[in-house]
């Protein structure tokens, strides 16, 4: 890992993903031949700078979680590159991957299944340290205690088991585990979706405080636009395996260019009945990622679709400085 860059050269982004694809084969029959593919992620590119949060939004099944897992190499990509601090890790063998594992960690959605029920909270948080060579028990306990206090848990709780904590506290344990290796990038896979609204706010604030303190970068995966708006600097909207719009948060919310983004935004409830908005209601369901529609993936549901949308897939292009959208009509 080149920590110190030559003066003048801009530091490489913490994460740069180029044209990432993940196609899951559907195996059938006795010989387990691939009868087709699920095009879960189909050409996704983005970058995340130090201290930046990229929100990745989309409906369930659009491939956003697959993106997160592929970036972490929990799933091997079909093609494309994943640069972490300038180094492509998309083809590294497992063993060689270990130093990069220290730099990226994950927080999961479900605070119940993401913690081993047979380990104490302290063991769970200390385990990444143990894996990466902190064998001295007392030093590890001290480090874990510090992490506990940082995420708002008491050190006396280190010897409790996960079932003795509430959902929010468990999520804090998950955050402490992700922080243990002092990573540069944390992937949050719907980290607050399973929590009560009041607890959501606490956890989000904790994540934002940690970001300021440690210059952390986040890939924040969520289907909740309000949460994403709060925490993100930039937002990428995914639809059926592709990014359809990618820009900074303010632009996205005030000036959405892709019809799908428009529809998503008009579905966000506004806490003021006096405000009348133009509603764009999308009909139908998300098509199957096994047989995505030709051309623009969104055309069967798009109110503005024209012939070209049915034949030709629109490229994600810059329609204004820093504003990318994949739509023929813009």
């Amino acid at each position: 890992m080149p920590d110190a860059m030559a003066p003048g050269t801009p530091a490489p982004p913490v994460l740069e993903v180029r044209d990432l694809k993940k196609h899951f084969p559907i195996r059938k029959g006795l010989l387990r031949r691939a009868a087709g593919h699920v095009f879960a992620v189909d050409g996704v590119s983005f970058t995340i700078a130090e201290g930046e949060t990229l929100g990745l939004v989309g409906e369930s099944g659009c491939g956003k979680s697959t993106v997160g897992r592929t970036v972490l190499r929990l799933i091997d990509p079909t093609s494309g590159s994943i640069h972490v601090g300038g180094q492509d890790i998309s083809r590294l063998p497992r063993k060689a991957l270990r130093p990069w594992r220290r730099q990226m960690q994950i927080i999961f959605q479900d605070p119940f299944s993401s913690l081993n029920p047979r380990m104490t909270a302290g063991e769970i948080v200390g385990e990444p340290l143990l894996v990466h060579g902190a064998h001295a028990t007392s030093a590890r306990r001290d480090a874990v205690a510090a992490l506990f206090e940082r995420v708002g848990l008491r050190r006396a709780q280190m010897d409790s088991y996960p079932h003795q904590f509430s959902g929010g506290q468990r999520q804090r344990i998950g955050i402490a585990r992700a922080l243990a290796l002092n990573p540069r990038l944390i992937i949050g896979d719907e980290p607050v979706s399973a929590l009560d609204v009041s607890i959501q706010a606490q956890v989000i604030n904790l994540l934002m405080d940690l970001q300021r303190e440690r210059r952390l970068s986040y890939l924040f995966i969520s289907h909740n636009l309000a949460v994403v708006e709060h925490i993100s600097h930039r937002i990428a909207v995914m639809y059926l395996g592709r990014i359809v719009e990618y820009t900074d948060k303010k632009t996205l919310f005030t000036n959405p260019q892709h019809p799908y983004t428009e529809a998503l935004l008009s579905a966000v409830p506004v806490p003021d009945p006096a405000i009348k908005r133009k509603k764009l209601v999308v009909q139908g369901d998300v098509p199957s990622p096994v047989k995505p529609p030709p051309g623009c993936h969104f055309h069967p549901r798009c109110p503005y679709a024209v012939d070209r949308c049915r034949a030709e897939a629109p490229a994600l292009r810059e329609i204004a400085p820093g504003h990318l959208a994949a739509c023929h009509l813009r």
Partner: protein, 297 residues
């Protein structure tokens, strides 16, 4: 590290801190059936360990004069057709039953855990091949499988243990495999993988401990069925050979001929077998609950 004495602090705060005896009392109140099972098992273990002290006669000493003496003050549980004391033979038989059931279950579990974990965790063709072999083994009932094994290995204590252990493997492997299949997809396993932990360590640290609950229940049930299988093998003459007293053989020697004329020859070994199986099952159920941290309070 903090130097707080938690127990002292808790006591000062008025909390109820239990000592070792208090904990035992709590467990008995919480798991009365399990405690009963534990008592039965402890009695059998003590009988096995102290057989020489407890037994009133040499279990192999014959005496034609006392053949088929009914239960009384000399022969507490009667004597068999060779004049051997039934009580002493049952007490010594506990040794055989215990050795066979614990030995076979431990051996079978060890092999079953390795096979099941490998099969479930690695998946793919390893899983396919291993599971087909397990299918073939499971197509035969436990007793028949053990019979085949015992017949091909020859009758001896050691071979009886191995034969029963092999017959137990498919059951254990199946249970471990199915829990492994669902556990390996759990987010906490993914989290471990994301830290760069080796797959072997994930399997042992994260997957295996979570398969323990069904395993313990199954293992204790197998303790019981191992006792039964040993008894059946000995009944059929393929188990532990003479002169070792085995509950199963005590039954088989007497069942057909003496059930009407000397029922104590059938009843008492039968009770010993039933009690041992019953006790291990009760204990197993309670152990499963106790070992699950979610059940602890």
């Amino acid at each position: 590290m903090s130097t707080i004495d938690h127990d002292a602090e808790l006591l000062r705060a008025g909390a109820h801190v239990r000592g070792a005896w208090g904990t035992a009392g709590f467990l008995i109140r919480r798991y009365p059936l399990g405690a009963a099972g534990a008592v039965i098992v402890i009695v059998f273990v003590l009988a096995a360990l102290l057989a020489n002290v407890v037994a009133t006669f040499d279990p192999t000493a014959t005496s034609s004069r006392n053949s088929l003496t009914p239960p009384g003050s000399v022969y507490w549980l009667g004597a068999d057709f060779m004049g051997r004391d039934v009580f002493s033979r049952i007490v010594h038989g506990a040794r055989i039953s215990l050795a066979v059931s614990v030995g076979a279950t431990a051996l079978g579990c060890a092999a079953g855990i390795i096979v099941g974990l490998m099969s479930g965790y690695l998946g793919g063709w390893v899983d396919l091949v291993v599971q087909r072999i397990m299918d073939i083994m499971q197509a035969l009932p436990l007793l028949v499988m053990a019979l085949v094994m015992a017949a091909s290995l020859g009758p001896s204590l050691q071979n009886t243990i191995i034969a029963i252990a092999i017959a137990l493997v498919p059951n254990i492997a199946r249970v471990i495999r199915s829990s492994t299949l669902s556990l390996r997809e759990q987010p906490f396993v993914e989290a471990a993988r994301a830290t760069g932990m080796s797959e072997l360590r994930i399997a042992v640290r994260h997957v295996l401990p979570n398969t323990l609950a069904p395993l313990i229940v199954l293992a204790t049930a197998q303790l019981g069925s191992a006792i039964l299988t040993e008894a059946s093998l000995s009944f059929l003459g393929l188990g532990v050979p003479e002169p070792h007293p085995s509950w199963g053989r005590m039954l088989s020697e007497s069942a057909a001929e003496y059930i009407r004329t000397a029922p104590w020859l059938v009843i008492f070994p039968g009770i010993a077998i039933s009690l041992a199986v019953f006790g291990t099952n009760l204990l197993g159920d309670a152990l499963r609950d106790m070992l699950d941290p979610r059940e602890r309070t």
